[in-house]
């Protein structure tokens, strides 16, 4: 049985955006705090810290998770992806990010990294969602700027473009 004692720091490693990283953490440290404070990954935004707002969403082995409701030790040895994983190595935005920009799917941008990651995971499971399904998926995030309409447009446009690009 793995036992990590309270109050002590333990060295853990994970694959973060495709790179092996290491850091030390107490069992009580949230994954969101580990990514931000130990690894300096401030693109992981922390909003409510109790799983309601969705700002801190990251992908854990490809699945969207609230990093404020996950302990860093639970991600040890696993794959974690942040919004950085969506851009290419030169920092060029992907099609979904560009669609958000085009349709004003963001204003202050605080909720955006989480929403982009949720959306990518969602589209990988359901490549042709209905508008209702997109809205239900977005209900797991809180955005106080946009009113979501631009996001829905951006996601539906991306769905359409990806579908037509997939046709041989």
């Amino acid at each position: 049985m793995l036992e990590l004692k309270e109050g002590q720091r333990h060295l853990i490693s994970m694959t973060l955006d495709g790179q092996e990283v290491r850091g030390s953490t107490e069992p009580r440290m949230l994954l969101s705090d580990f990514l931000r404070q130990e690894l300096g990954r401030s693109e992981v935004h922390v909003g409510c810290e109790h799983g309601v707002c969705g700002a801190c969403t990251v992908l854990l082995d490809g699945k969207p998770v609230r990093s404020c409701l996950t302990f860093a030790v639970q991600a040890a040895g696993r794959r974690v992806d942040t919004v950085r994983s969506l851009t290419d190595k030169d920092g060029k935005l992907n099609d979904l990010q560009n669609a958000f920009r085009k349709h004003h799917g963001l204003q202050c941008g605080y909720c955006t990294p989480g929403i982009l990651l949720s959306t990518e995971a969602f589209l990988s499971e359901n490549a042709k969602p209905s508008e209702q399904e997109v809205r239900e998926m977005l209900s797991g995030h809180i955005c106080r700027c946009t009113g979501y309409v631009g996001m829905v447009d951006a996601i539906l446009e991306t769905v359409q473009k990806r579908a037509s690009a997939a046709v041989p």
Binding site: M1, L2, E3, L4, K5, E6, G7, E26, P27, R28, L30, D33, E49, H50, G51, G54, T57, K63, P64, V65, R66, C68, L69, T70, F71, V73, Q74, S118, A121, F122, R135, E136, M137, S139, G140, H141
Partner: protein, 275 residues
Amino acid sequence: MKPKSFTYLRPASVDEALQALARWREDARILAGGQSLVAMMNFRLIEAQVLIDVSDLAPLAYIRESNREIEVGASTTQAQFMRWPKLAEQAPLLSAAMPHVGHYQTRSRGTVCGSIAHSDPSSELPLCLATLGGSVVMTSSRGTRVLSCSDFQTGMLTTARLPDELITAVRFPTRKSGTGYAFAEMAQRHGDFAICAVAAMVSGNTTRLGVGGVAEKPTVREWSGLDDSGIDEALNDFAWDLGGTDDHHATAVYRRGLMRHLGRQAIEDARKCSS
């Protein structure tokens, strides 16, 4: 908004988990999906000395059909359950309720058993379990026992689980032929806690309605020979008997109103499916 210090245990087997529970008892908490537990730890509503993480315990990640029941293991996530290909055919009520259980993002970690263990009065899975008349399987180093859901959930966030017991599985009865099922809910935002949720089962002249979010635990009432003209009065009596209270989400008056409205809607929908 950070949890108090705790020791983290990740057992490699169910036996190891039970040994840890036998040793730590009340000082330990089981961590499955953590979608309620960790939020409450962040708020320090819960302080645990030891967390026993069963989220990756492979022997508990299963969905099985046997004896006209669906058994769901303790580490099966809500997302895995929702994607189970036979869900709509074998458990239409659960199939209708699952999209309301949290959000897409929380279902990827939240577990079916965890929701039952947490026993929030407004959550959908305990409501479905109560309406269907399911049961909960609990194991300790002393042995295994199976409790009916009515004996299991004792009140708001409280259950009959003993400190050394692990909820290893939950059992839902499968669809009965000639029975119609329906689910309806009102929440502030899709996926949020229900202000009022109802689950209906109609078979022949028997009508059963479970209500969540109003009383301190899901409450089920059954009528026989309930005809169309009697529904409103029956629902009105049921609504008053539940004794809902005011909170910052809704008043008791509003909850009773919702119950009458959603109750009628669900019973009518279930009737249509039963014929």
